[in-house]
Symmetry: C2
């Protein structure tokens, strides 16, 4: 018999003692309590000799995060030959080395001017990704959606353990493959991008699921990865919808229980599920959803 | 008779046509639907002659956002004399002018190296804020908390209208004063900081409420504003808790229905509320909570 969660290649390890801390406080009755909180750590990413950024992360996959960050910033190209990814735990530094010489001094200057940390988003030449996107035709069956979200919602995770965390899942058909969590939702996306690059995983038959909102930045990253379908239990921003339509990305939001709304790339959706057999979210899942706003 | 929401000086205007867009798509039954989505716009902030950042915002209060952003980045000092805040709608630019000459070229370089856009957080000299914090003694009654969250949850907002948005509220005792929303939760915080600066509002008797997580960045900004109490319906990160304890900030999270957990500055809390008279969150509020993960 197959074990539950057998399909996963990578999934959260909520019992990893490095990822949460027990802290004491008081609850609403004034009683002393101990509770788990997620740990955030600074990780500095270098590309060859150049310091690029310090990210706050739970730091479970520093190598994937570094690769994915650089790819999603367009500093590393899919065709680049990576000669090494060296992580030094003590220094909290990860260095990505490439065959090609790199120098992003100009790019880093540009970034200052086009982005607000944790506020704006990095566009610049990333918009080219949208203009030149050629996402593959693919089908997305509603039966997969319901099976997939059911599996994701019941997978043991840091979010069920301690809250205050975002999650992203890479899936194929109705099977989740990689489930990454992080304090920043962009870290979770980048770790999946890094995993796909490192493991040479094809994108055309994949589905990307996120707990976060469907913003322009989320759409650009999904298109950058070459994945044709993006699903979220959260909502949309207007620019996210506009970019998804331009790139012909299938954009599905507010996916909860039997409900969802698709605002772009609707032609990929195959309505094969008899809704009479799909349950509304149970009270238990509603509570879970509530934790997710963190 | 007082009108409801009379206490507010600033509150969301969910019917402002500039803030949402109607878009068409299909729902889970394959039926064509129209739905409201929040608009995000690029706004470029200048400090005197220097371009500082381009933020993605709903752009309802560009002047407050610019002032608050600069204050929270430590580029504008509380004692600075602002000689003008000029917003050009067509160019999507806001320029803050100060009596003091400013030059943050070095600072901007540093920012590149210490932050990841929408991933990391801007620390650098902001950590000084924690080290030197002298937050006032104040009391925080649990009866205020329950009255306050009840009022906030029923205030008409973009979040109830279209989802996918964060909210922050500045309050005094059990009365909400300023309720700001934005696509980025840091924008919502910064707009409140800008409002307080512009309107010369005292911080020592205020309470800050956020829908977002209690991360290190959120704690630093609250301490920077001089507000002694920070409340969220979301959870904590370990570093957020650590910094709050260092700065003696009262940190209350997971505030839903009658429940909450306090992990720092517990001594300011006065348990004056008889919990027998507080309701658990209704199913209606649970749904609202669920929308909030966006």
């Amino acid at each position: 018999m197959a074990k539950p969660f057998d399909d996963y290649v990578v999934r959260p390890d909520p019992h990893d003692p490095r990822l949460t801390e027990r802290v004491r406080g008081i609850d609403h009755t004034g009683t002393s309590v101990a509770t788990g909180v997620v740990v955030e750590r600074a990780l500095t990413i270098f590309l060859n000799r150049q310091e690029i950024v310090t990210a706050m992360t739970i730091n479970d996959y520093p190598e994937y995060l570094a690769l994915g960050y650089l790819l999603n910033q367009n500093m590393l190209q899919p065709a680049d030959v990576v000669t090494g990814v060296d992580y030094d735990e003590e220094l909290a530094v990860v260095v990505v080395r490439t065959e090609r010489a790199t120098n992003y001094e100009q790019k880093l200057k540009k970034k200052v001017q086009t982005s607000g940390c944790a506020q704006g988003t990095v566009f610049g030449d990333l918009m080219e990704v949208i203009e030149t996107a050629r996402l593959p035709m693919a089908e997305f069956r509603t039966s997969w959606l319901y099976a997939l979200t059911g599996k994701i919602n019941t997978t043991p995770s840091l979010y069920l353990e301690a809250g205050a965390i975002h999650g992203c899942v890479l899936a194929r058909r109705d099977g989740p493959l990689v489930y990454m969590e992080d304090v920043g939702r962009h870290n979770a996306v980048d770790k999946i991008a890094g995993w796909m690059f490192r493991e040479r995983v094809a994108a055309h038959d994949k589905i990307f699921y996120t707990t976060g909102r469907l913003t322009s930045e989320m759409v650009i990253k999904t298109v950058r990865m070459g994945i044709p379908i993006l699903v979220s239990r959260s909502g949309f921003t207007a620019w996210g919808v506009e970019l998804a339509r331009k790139a012909h990305l299938t954009l599905i939001g507010r996916a909860r229980g039997k409900r969802f709304v698709a605002l772009a790339g609707e032609d990929r959706i195959v309505f094969d599920q008899d809704l009479a057999y799909v349950e509304e979210e149970s009270a238990k899942h509603r509570r879970k959803a509530a934790v997710h706003d963190e």
